[in-house]
Subunit: 190 residues, 2 copies
Amino acid sequence: MATTQKVSTTINGVAVDALLATIEAIKSTPTLAKFRFRIRNQWQSGSRNCSTVSSFTGANQELAHPQPFTLEADEPAILLGNDLAANPVEYLLHALAACLTTSMVYHASARGIGIEQVESFFEGDLDLHGFLNLNPKIRKGYQGIRVSFKIRANVPDEQLQEIVQLGTTYSPVFDSLTNGVPVSVTAERL
Amino acid sequence: MATTQKVSTTINGVAVDALLATIEAIKSTPTLAKFRFRIRNQWQSGSRNCSTVSSFTGANQELAHPQPFTLEADEPAILLGNDLAANPVEYLLHALAACLTTSMVYHASARGIGIEQVESFFEGDLDLHGFLNLNPKIRKGYQGIRVSFKIRANVPDEQLQEIVQLGTTYSPVFDSLTNGVPVSVTAERL
């Protein structure tokens, strides 16, 4: 049976035609751009807790993942945990790595730049004098994070740097983490 | 066979005697407080990439998790992914949730405050005009994150608020995300 098919333009696994269509749709209906992501976390015991990621709002719709994702957290033994899952500050590095990589790949794809392989390494320094309140001059959070990307792509050296800059320029997590986000917190009795 | 046993003091699943011993050890040997967490990320295709969490440095030792943890990332279909895993900005919420909860529980435990149950909800607003570079005035990252904790504990109302403040005061991810972290990025050819 003969059918008419729209051939999609996919670069680096990104449906570039859909990406460009999204941009056009947002230009004509700006509220489509508003997204709201959410999770629910439940404490288990000690260092163990677990988040459920099931729904989000975007493009003027309530949307759901096909199945909820469960994200466990724990601490290693040296930080008094059971070492059954990555710890919160390791998850933060993953969020940053995943977002830089995806942002880079999407924006490179939109520009028609083919990427063959990407590996990256993330390392952050923490001094427990902060968390344990032993020295008020030492911050609780990461003092600094070092990122190193290795990329295989058939581009000149200058463009290799530009590809990575697409990540740092457009990544929502990179912006959130380097520039900070206002976080409001309320508490009530369960 | 009779043995001499040290009875450990555990509150909320946290070995408080070990926590206090850690504090004393750091007071006498400050370099024990220095930790370095790391991950390695590999791009798969499009919106899919994967981090491996296997080792870290802390307390003047090279340490390894008993087994490497694998953290997948994807995007939902509306953001051109395959929806096989949570996305980077959802992971960021999980990192924040896990860290606030663990920080709160550890510090409450050190103060002898018993906590029975903790649930929390995290929601963040993103406007794709930023990521898609359609409006330079709209940031790429989260515009704001709202956190709501529900806690069951046999404490007066004021102390319920104080318990949550232990989280916001000491959490490394909360500090990192609200105050920002310097991130340095390099790129080389693979």
